[in-house]
Every structure is written in C-alpha cells, then in structure tokens.
Symmetry: C2
Subunit: 337 residues, 2 copies
C-alpha cells in the first residue's frame, strides 16, 4: 500500500491522481457536502493510495484557526493530571480540538516556557493545570483557564476543587466515627491552607452541635511531601498524644503520617485513623486502602474544557470561578473509635 521512502504526498499529488483540482481535494478533506459522490470517491481513493496526510503546519498556516489547545501541567509526576486529561478530552477533543500536553520543563531551552511554545503554535486556548507559576505571563487575548489551583491568573477562568468543602468533609467523617481529638498535618501550599481552613470549620460545626470536638494542626514550612507527613505527624503525636485521627493535606503526606504512626508502634486504624486528600491511585490501591477526599479531577477537566470553549467563542466574557464539590471515599484507614 505505502512506499513511504520519499517525501510525503501533498494535496497536489492527490489532486493529480484523482484528476481534480486541489480545491476539490481540500473540500473533501473538510467534509464539505457540496461535492459530487463521484469526485469524492476518487479523491478518497487517491488519498488511500498515496497514504496522504494533510500537513498540520500548512493547515494551521492557511486556515483561520489552529484547532489546538495547549495544556500546561505542573509536573508529570503528579498523577492527578491523568483524570484531568480525561475530562479535557471529553469536552475539548470531542469538539474537534487537538490537545497538546507539556509539563513545566518539557521544552525549556528551546522555548523559554511551555507557554511560549504554545503561543508559537498559535493555540486557540490554554489550560493551566495546577497552581500557575507566579511569574507566568499570558498575553491578553489568549483564552486561558486554570484547572485546579487557587491562585488567580489575570483574565483567566478558574475551575477547581472546593478545598474548603473537602476539609469540612474530612472533619465530618472523623467526627461521625466518634473521634473527638483531631489532628491536621500540612505544609506550605495554598491547597493545604484551604483544606485546613475547611477542616477547622468542620470542627466548629460539630462543636456547635454540642460535640466535644477539638483539633490541633501542625503546618510545617515545607512542601507537602511524604517527609512532611512523617515529621509533622511525629510532632503532632509528641505534643498531643491523645489525637486519634489525622487529616493530611494530601495522599502522599498521609502516607508519611501512616509511616510515622507505624514508627511509634501504633496501628492504623485501630489506634489512629488517617485520611488523605486527592484520592490518588496509591490511596485506591488495595495494599494502602487510604480513606481520601476525591477532588474529582475528571469533572474539573470537563468543566475547564467547557469553559475554555465558551471563552474562545466569546473572549469578552467576565471571568468566573467555579468550585467542584469533592467526595469522600472511605477505605480502611479510618475507623470508629
């Protein structure tokens, strides 16, 4: 079928082979209905025979739109982007847009930043996944939405998980299980702060209803990592040995918490319950079975994609901020006390 040893076929080759003009081929490519069945068949056959593929470079240069959306991830190691992408695919790709994905470092050296690269590609819009870099600059006129991430970017819509609600849920779950002395372990991040705030609000609600619930928080001046969970939890339990439930700012921190609890000869959940945030695959694994707050990344992706489409259609829209309600996923690390 294909020889492929030489230059790729062009629209001219196809036209010649099918015995029509290039414009006709272009019309067929664009699925125009104003083409006779006969010619269409001839063109399609020629395309097959020549193994022809339109050059995206030529298409986007000649056309009025690139039909391309750039997605900037903070780090490929943060698995939450996988679900986010699923949601983005649904809302964007299925509408005929091509998704191009890069993490913060992918093409540095060639481009200053992935955003620069996307702008060179003349993307129609940008999705910034996670917390946008503080010194990120996107030219006015480029539609942008921030997906997950609290910091506002000028002129950008935001679709994010409701960390406050998630924090409240975590507290509520533990209170329901009968815990009265709660602990929080987090670090230096906007998400951690918001989750802590929600958790405190949740405790206040319970206390208001008459439950004798109190909470103590350890917030380290460090990134929200597993190691933070380890040292934070040790400090928490050193200072407050009566704590029976720990809410960690995210799942890897929760893993650290479990590790610290094991260090101390305590068991999860018999002695101490642990709850994380993000509902990552690690949490869902049978071995770990971590109770977690699902931030519903798929829905964030869907929402972000939908919003981006709206903004592309009408760039004058006022910016909005939508919060997606998280969901508690109870597993084996939390138990009644």
């Amino acid at each position: 079928m294909t020889m492929g040893n030489t230059k790729p076929a062009t629209i001219y080759d196809v036209a010649a082979r099918a015995g029509v003009s290039k414009s006709l081929v272009s019309l067929v490519l664009q699925r125009s209905p104003r083409v006779s069945e006969q010619r269409r068949a001839a063109v399609l056959a020629a395309i097959q025979e020549l193994d022809y593929r339109p050059s995206t470079a030529a298409v986007s240069l000649a056309g009025t739109r690139s039909r391309t959306i750039g997605v900037v991830l903070d780090d490929f190691r943060n698995q939450w982007f996988v679900d986010l992408l699923t949601g983005l695919r649904e809302s964007l790709q299925d509408q005929g847009h091509r998704l191009v994905v890069a993490d913060r470092f992918l093409n540095t050296g060639l481009d200053v930043s992935p955003v620069e690269g996307f702008l060179s590609m003349r993307v129609e819009g940008l999705v910034i996944a996670g917390e946008p870099d503080p010194d990120l600059v996107v030219p006015a006129g480029t539609p942008v939405v921030v997906a997950g991430g609290r910091a506002a970017l000028p002129r950008a819509d935001t679709v994010a998980n409701d960390d406050l609600a998630g924090g409240r849920m975590a507290a509520g779950h533990l209170v329901e299980l009968g815990h009265v002395r709660l602990g929080f372990v987090g670090g230096r991040s906007a998400a951690s702060d918001a989750r802590l705030e929600g958790w405190r609000a949740g405790i206040d609600v319970a206390a208001g209803v008459g439950d004798d619930v109190t909470g103590v928080a350890v917030v380290l001046a460090a990134d929200v990592t597993e190691e933070t969970g380890v040292s934070g939890t040790h400090r928490l339990l050193d200072e407050h040995p009566d704590v029976t439930a720990v809410f960690a700012a995210n799942d890897v921190t929760a893993l650290g918490a479990m590790s610290a609890i094991a260090d101390r000869g305590l068991r999860v959940p018999e002695d101490v319950s642990v709850i994380g945030y993000d509902d990552t695959p690690i949490a869902a694994s049978r071995y770990v079975g971590l109770t977690s707050i699902d931030d519903r990344s798929i829905d964030i992706g869907r929402g972000a994609g939908a919003r981006l489409l709206e903004r592309i259609a009408d760039p004058t829209l006022p910016t909005t901020e939508v919060l997606v309600e998280p969901r508690l996923v109870a597993r084996r690390t939390t138990a009644r006390r």
Copy 2:
C-alpha cells in the same frame, strides 16, 4: 510591554519596525553570525517591543526540517515514562529538538492514532515508549525507536531494560539472604515472561553452586496488576506454604503480594520477603519501602534519544537492540531468613 489584543506580530511587522528586510529578521532568528551588530540589536528590540514569536507552523512549512520528535506513551498512568522523558529530554531536547508527547488515546477521534497525528506534524522521528501496539504501522522512512518494550517493530531500533538480568538479580538477592524456597508471581506480558525466565536462570546458577534452592512460579492468565499479585500470591502460598520470598513481575503486583501476605496474617519481611520490579515512586516511598529492580528508565531514554538522532542522520543504519542493565534497590521488604 505587550498589548496582545490583536493578531500576533509577524516577521513583516518586525522587519518594518526595525527598518530591515524580512530575510534579515530571519537571519537574526537563526542566530546567523553574518549580521551586523547594529541591525541585530534593532531587530531584537523590535521583537521585544512587538512581543513577536515565530509561528512554528510557518517555520516548519518553509524550513527543511520540523525539529520535532513525537513520543508515544502507552498510558499516562504508567509512571515509568516520567524518567524516560527525562532521558529523552537530555539527548533530544538539548540537541535542539522539540518533544511532543501523546498517550495512545490522546487525540483519537481527530487522528486515527497518535502516530497519525505525529506524521501529520511531519515529525523527524518517533519514540514508541513501552510495548508497541501489535497493529501499529509506521511508514518506512520514518525513523523510529522503541524504548522499553520487547516486541520488535519493523525497521525500528530498540532500547530496553534487560529483564532477564533483572530476574537473575532478584533471585540472586534472595538467595544471598538465605532463602531457599522462592516464589514468582506474574501475568500475561512479555516483560513478566522475561523476568520469570531470568529468575529461573538465577535459581539454576545458585543450585549449580551447590545451594539447595528451588523456585515455584504462578503465572496467571491476566494482566500484571495489583489484583493479579493478590490472587497469585494466595495461590502460591496455598500450594507452597514453605515459600519465604516472593518475586513479583512488577511493583504494583508486589503491592498485591504484600496485601495477600497481610491477609494471611504473615509479616513482610519477617515471614515472607517481597521484591518487585520497576522501582516506581510507590516502591521508593517510605511507607512502602519495597525492594525493587530499577529498570533505569532515564538511561533507556538517553539511549533511545541518542539512537534516534543517529538514525535520523543516517536512515540506512542497520537496526540495533540495546539492553540496559538494571539495578537492584534493596529496601525494607526483603530480609535475611
């Protein structure tokens, strides 16, 4: 600095602003030394002032090469690609190539497969990460290398982990620790098979030296998942209660094995040692601390990138297959018996 409310600036705009011809601007863009300092400065200033970015579409259409490499991942969920990308970046990106990443499903619907999309972009080469789809077709003339993955693709170089060596290492490690009754748990995959084969060879070596070592394998007709590890290990220990060390085909399967071992009231590593494969972040986490075989994805990436460059330079090169020697990473799940 930037207004950005209208169309992006073109090379014409820059030329006009700097008072030179477009060719001169093009030369500056390409860092040609044959440009007077005066003009260069003027052009650079104009670029700044207009917030100009060359259109990649126009560049690759007009130029002779796209300077772009397509990377096809099997699945964004398999974290091993993160290290692979790091290696590819080093060898490719630093040589002035742009990396574009897609997983198997990223733009299906628009393109038939990510490979189709890459061919439309006129990439200069392709990296297929992981086991290539059996019905994957790449036109002759397109340089391809398979990175990680045993199945040979026609006309493609291969750079992969030496699974046989890794299997041998796993067996060797356990024998050294004094284990004599070894178990293997795997599933339906080429990697699993090769690792099993290496493990058997390792046992044979030990037995040859006079050690009284034997091994029993459970290979399920299922994917190599955590669940496979659970049921495989249960079966293994049901049938062979004297096994004191389990080698799992990969880390998530090892997680399943640990889960099953816990189900039975046994402890890791006191009662049963467990070793995985891939050295994923989960294995490296403090909480899990899984002994594993590091497949050295970074080096696979480096090698694959380097080889791709060679093949692009000289497409007539005979195809090669290079194996990267894995490395044992001992952690808490294996112990002397």
